[in-house]
Amino acid sequence: MKLKALFIAATLVLGGILLSGLDAVHPFGVPGDVAMDEYFLDHAMEERSSENVVTSIVFDYRGFDTLGESAVLFTALCSVVMLFRKGRK
């Protein structure tokens, strides 16, 4: 029981650090620098002629993340199928 209390205390300390840091990022609704996102908003239509800027980021500007992401999905699939395999094969 003592270990669990220790862990909860550690979590509260971590939470305090987190909350203090969260205020310091930037006031809500007013992001500091927006250079990268302005580039995406301006050039998504012009270079890649796709209206949905988010999709153009997901599949073209940061397409390698999406490859990693479908790899994560494939990993979870292989693990689940391996976990529930029929046994003797």
Binding site: E47, S49, N52, V54, T55, T66
Partner: protein, 162 residues
Amino acid sequence: MRKPLSLVARTVCDLFAWFLIIFGVYVIIHGDVTPGGGFQGGAIVGSFMALLLVAHGGDRVLEWVKASIYWIMLFVGLMMFIGFGLRGIPEGAFFYNFLAVPHDVAKTMAHGLIPFSGTIGVMDIAVGIEVAGGLTVIILSMFRGIVLHDFADSRKETGHDG
């Protein structure tokens, strides 16, 4: 979990499930034009199998469904996706969008025509197929895992010391 629901639920589910797929495919295909995309559309199509499992009870669905279709969908989607990625290497870097219509050409096209957005649209559909097949396979094997609880023979694999 394995007993089918009442007649009303089953008929409503039969009717609704197919419209679900149509909506899912719409979201996948219009990924680069309207908010949506491969993953969201694939998840919608993936929920088709979950709906059937709940409504019709597991045993009848497991006999009815052929899992190989979803495995083929999974691998077709994956291979298309990584294939288009690798196909970009000769032109530019690894994930280069070699099919995109450059802006000056897009201007000359007839007004109102949405120019082809290159590999974004194609990868969108590939990921949609892959996620739809993958989620269905996950749901089916998790369901088979719960049912597996009762298979007596496969409980213990030989070869363990424990």
